[in-house]
């Protein structure tokens, strides 16, 4: 073993050896200056992500207003107020309720759509386009469109289904209307993730199963579903994070109000009201930080689950 490598080194022309040594030096230099590659991104990241985060933490301990002058340190007063603020809890409840409805529906619908598009042999691009199309609209356009579809009096939804439901003006339906709009608008994104995952399942698995006499149901339960476990985790995590941050379509559908009896006031909307309508930047920052901790908990929870699963799989 050692002799062979020694022989190769000896046989190798001196010039090549020198070049290799030079390359090694250069490589080392390159490695040392690797920081320059990440510098432009880190600059933007520091200015527009890290600094606002630190600033938010600082502001949350003050009574700052929108002009930013004369902020006084008030300690934990903002946090104490937030925990006793029924409107904050309501807003959080609305966002959580929305998330609970949207996430499972999206996962199931996206999976079914992907199975459908994957198994139709003809015109794959056409199905992909049709199922993905709504996602290409801006959220506000989706909101306006469904506001129009749910319009009392001449809304198409009530017209088609022969209903007389006060979708946008009754608090028991308002959030449901926002959920329906969101499902229609975003299912295409998760559909695309599922479709890519389905296409990535090696065909030989199915062939082997077929040879073993597995029927379509068995192949689905024992191959397709287990192979889609990772992508399902991803779809659910991305959807939870996005849904908790719901804002655009809800405010647009409700004409920039908080909906009937405030039933669609989302958490994001509440922070913006506090910051830009009541000019209470300190308080708005405090509830933003609470929200950030919540979001981080969800993301860390997913990472923890993933790690556990990997360890369990070994």
């Amino acid at each position: 073993m050692t002799t062979t490598s020694a022989e190769t080194v000896v046989r190798r022309p001196a010039r090549a050896r020198a070049a290799a040594a030079g390359a090694a030096v250069r490589r080392k230099q390159g490695l040392q200056h690797g920081g320059w590659f990440v510098a432009p991104f880190l600059l933007l990241f520091a200015l527009f992500v890290i600094w606002p985060l630190l600033r938010g933490v600082w502001l949350s301990f003050t009574d700052a207003n929108i002009s930013g002058d004369g902020a006084r340190f008030v300690g934990l007063a903002n946090y104490r107020e937030a925990l006793d603020d029924p409107l904050m809890w309501d807003a959080l409840g609305h966002s959580a309720f929305f998330t609970l409805l949207v996430v499972p529906c999206i996962a199931v619908l996206a999976f079914l759509l992907a199975m459908l598009a994957h198994h139709i042999e003809r015109g794959t691009w056409l199905w992909r386009l049709c199922f993905f199309l709504p996602f290409l609209l801006p959220s506000t356009v989706a909101g306006n469109l469904w506001q129009w579809l749910f319009n009392p009096g001449n809304g198409m939804v009530n017209h088609v289904f022969g209903l007389d439901t006060p979708w946008l003006t009754d608090k028991s339906y308002a959030m449901l209307a926002v959920v329906i709009c969101t499902l229609w608008w975003t299912v295409g994104f998760s559909f695309l993730l599922y479709l890519a995952a389905l296409q990535g399942i090696p065909a030989h698995l199915y062939e082997a199963a077929r040879l073993d006499g597995a029927n379509a149901w068995h192949r689905m339960v024992h191959i397709t579903l287990p192979m889609l476990r990772n992508i399902t985790g991803l779809v659910i995590a991305l959807q939870i994070l996005a849904s908790l941050q719901v804002f655009d379509q809800a405010v647009v559908m409700m004409d920039f109000t908080t909906g009937p009896e405030d039933s669609t006031r989302t958490f994001v909307q509440y922070t913006l009201e506090q910051g830009f309508t009541s000019y209470r930047v300190g308080y708005a920052s405090a509830i933003s930080i609470i929200f950030f901790v919540l979001i981080a908990a969800v993301a860390l929870g997913r990472m923890w689950l993933l790690r556990n699963r990997e360890e369990g799989g070994r």
Binding site: F37, F41, L47, L53, L59, S139, A196, S288
Partner: protein, 285 residues
Amino acid sequence: MTTTTVTGTRRRSWSAGQIVLTALGAAVSAVLLAPLLWALFTSLKSETESVEVPTHWLPEKWTGQAWSGIFETGNIIDWFVNSLVVSVCVTAVVLLVSSLAGYGFARTEFRGKGLLMGIVMAGLMISPAVLGVPLFTTVQQMGMVDTYWGMILPQCAPAAMVYILYKFFQGVPRELEEAAFIDGAGRWRVFFTIILPLSRPSLAAVGIFTFISSWNNFLWPYMVTNNPDLMTMPNGIATVMNSYGIQWSQLMAGGLLAGLPLIVVFVFFQRQIVAGVAHTGLAGQ
């Protein structure tokens, strides 16, 4: 000749299962596309016809009034240009900085790399929706409220895109780089002449998704602009067109116009988008 046609038709024969699935696909597509068709038909009605009760699908009198109306009154052309400027700039900057950073994290060494990578990953959880108010006061302090810079720059630090490209660069065989180093190429040349061309599918996916999310971004431009001349499409349509009594035909026309560029992009780049999603496992499963 005859035989090929025969095999051709045989391959194309419709099994019962395929007919059922295709019918199902068509039904689902009809449900998903119906709201868009409704928007289109509404935009081709006159304002009075669009709010008539009982409502009806097709216009009785087809008219382009709403479409010409949005161009004649208001500043929809400004909004369109603004959207284009903002999305193109954001996409260009994001592609450049996140591919450099993804490569830096994947293939170079420098002090504090692990820590920085951890901080960037934490950035995945931060968005203008979460930290809108402090982000706004930061941008306000920089004097960038109601400017293009204020709209563009805060959208240019997406940790997710760095992560996708980082994952991709990790998978590029090291031998390719080594060979180039031996030929005397430096880090930067290797990056621009070998790595970047290899990563075209991933870059396409990142670029297209950045463009889509920037074109459709409502919340941040909504927070940072008050001047109607500076608004982007989603923003202008949602705020200005909604503000003095909604004119539904015009609103639908404006909405469709806002969606059109992305639909065109998707139709042309569909294959790259889908390949990119598969390729990068989007955000790494």
